[in-house]
Subunit: 337 residues, 2 copies
């Protein structure tokens, strides 16, 4: 399909690159020489799945001005788009393999932008041991970029961790601190920006829980990544498993930035628990396996928190704060339910 892509070339003023030059120069190196991707010259990629493994597939679209700030740095966009997908693979217990990259450019994208974007992806590929298997580069009738990634991971057959596998009595375990991304977004929307602000950086650049897939495959009954908000995503698990859930906000541990913002009254535990984009994992783990899981996670430099329990009390959700039960409801912010 003729895409009408038009990238303003660096150097010569007025010169431009067509789709094929762009693919060859910037995107083909992202295949990391994998023969199945054929340097992005075939109509599709061929992906061999090792015997005994299943494929896990996930997609996320990121739109400028919706999922990242207008004018965000290309390297940040690249890293975030990839990492939100890797986070989904992590929550399924899958080891990342490769990804398809579909990118719709506004008119007159510039080569320098592409260079920074693809340079960052190359670094991500190396960091996570993955490659780009294919995709599409197009132009869009808009001033804003739209980017879709479909990521692929491998999991031993039958070992994928689903949302619906929690059992009554399972503990709800969170892999780390939440709230930083929501605080970071709040600061950005208030016009505060600083590369030294950890909360802002955590919003802009998620740190997906890649590398603990064997722990998930071995011990975890159900999981979700914290993208919609910790409470909402924990409830996704409870719902899919047909269980009730009690979450104890007093068990949360926050970063120094979030703690300070809560103390100052600029932020709240509730906002930390319901804001999105944390990319920690929430896990359902049977009590008998808890000790092993916590040990293995700490060995992986994580600080897991036991923050709740799945119950057979219908689909009833409740939240404990300051030692008191609070019935879950719209006011707590998980509008999705």
């Amino acid at each position: 399909m003729v895409t009408g892509l038009y990238i303003m070339a660096g150097g010569d003023k007025g010169a431009h690159m067509d789709e094929f030059s762009v693919i060859e120069k910037y995107f083909a190196p992202l295949t990391m020489g994998q023969s199945g991707a054929a340097g992005l010259k075939d109509d599709g990629a061929v992906i061999a799945i090792p015997e005994g493994f299943e494929l896990v597939v996930t997609s996320d679209t990121l739109n400028e001005g919706v999922h990242f700030m207008i004018g965000e740095a290309p390297a940040m966009i690249a890293r975030k788009a990839l990492r939100v997908n890797l986070s989904d693979l992590a929550s399924m217990g899958a080891k990342p393999l490769c990804y398809q990259l579909n990118i719709a450019f506004p008119d007159m994208a510039e080569e320098a932008w592409l260079e920074a974007f693809c340079g960052a992806l190359l670094e991500e590929n190396e960091m996570f041991g993955i490659y780009c298997s294919g995709g599409d580069t197009t132009s869009i009738k808009s001033d804003y970029l739209s980017l879709s990634i479909t990521a692929f991971g491998l999991v031993p057959c039958g070992k994928a961790v689903r949302r619906g596998g929690a059992k009554a009595g399972d503990l709800l375990v969170l892999t780390g601190a939440v709230g930083d991304a929501a605080l970071g977004l709040k600061l950005l929307l208030e016009g505060i920006d600083s590369a030294n602000n950890l909360a802002i950086m955590r919003y802009r650049l998620p740190d997906p829980r890649v590398g603990i897939e064997r722990i998930l495959q071995k011990y975890v009954n159900a999981a979700a990544d914290v993208s919609d908000g910790m409470i909402a995503d924990s409830m996704h698990i409870a719902r899919a498993s047909g269980l009730g859930l009690e979450i104890d906000l007093d068990k949360l541990v926050f970063s120094k930035d979030v703690e300070k913002a809560i103390e100052n009254g600029d932020f709240s535990r509730e906002k930390a628990a319901t804001g999105g984009d944390d990319y920690e994992l929430v896990l359902a783990i049977s009590e008998g396996k808890l000790g092993e899981v916590l040990t293995e996670m700490r060995n992986n430099n994580l600080n897991p928190l036991v923050i709740g329990k799945f119950t057979d009390n219908g689909l009833s959700f409740s939240v404990i704060e300051d030692g008191k039960y609070r019935k879950a409801g719209k006011g707590v912010g998980w509008k999705h339910f």
Copy 2:
């Protein structure tokens, strides 16, 4: 990730559906009950690959006003987006399996639109024996829709048909008539629209060459689907295979509409050979296998045409028209080379 999706509900004025209601009502049925897709409630889908098979993956993005007309009917958008991907799978010799659907809505999309879009996809699923394995629904800062599909197919290990497999002496075979889509687009841009015009319908609704994958796996050395234009896509094969190519335009057979437009001077053989969006296949086939291939294709209701030959004459491309050699060049329209 919070998507900000906002779909205006049918019925109640001012009511709207959030992302989760939209997924449950419209997108979950597209999984056709496949357990690996978990009703779109997991972070990803689990796809089992039968032993002895490889996965073929392809992506196409379609943007309103670029890849289809502004205001195009939702059912047509749905069918076209899926079929251009199925065409890529067909050219690789892969049998379609499933797809990820990433759709970015402009503000205030309406439920009636969604209903028509997903209704058409459901029909396509049944027609092609496929299902939706997952995806993402988001909102975009634009008045125009953007849609990405990543499609998956299966092929016996080692049997995927690549672009780089042509051999000197192979014949170039085209699976049918080209030019209709380019003529249809020309008419649409001139403001002519008619549901009864076959050329326009062929632009709006491609007919991918699904169902002949076993012929490709068994006999074909290299293939591409005709999306950029028949000459450009044939040259992709030659380039990837390190060969020269002679194409004889006199061997092309056109539809009645295209033939008539050429006679009237409104269109040309060159335009038919260089316009895009035909979604026929161009194939490299060794002379010894030609008879069998033509017979099997005719048994599948195709009208294949032998229109050229791959040569070991460097990367030299030439075109024959009215019995005379014409050197390939910019004037012939394949700007990609």
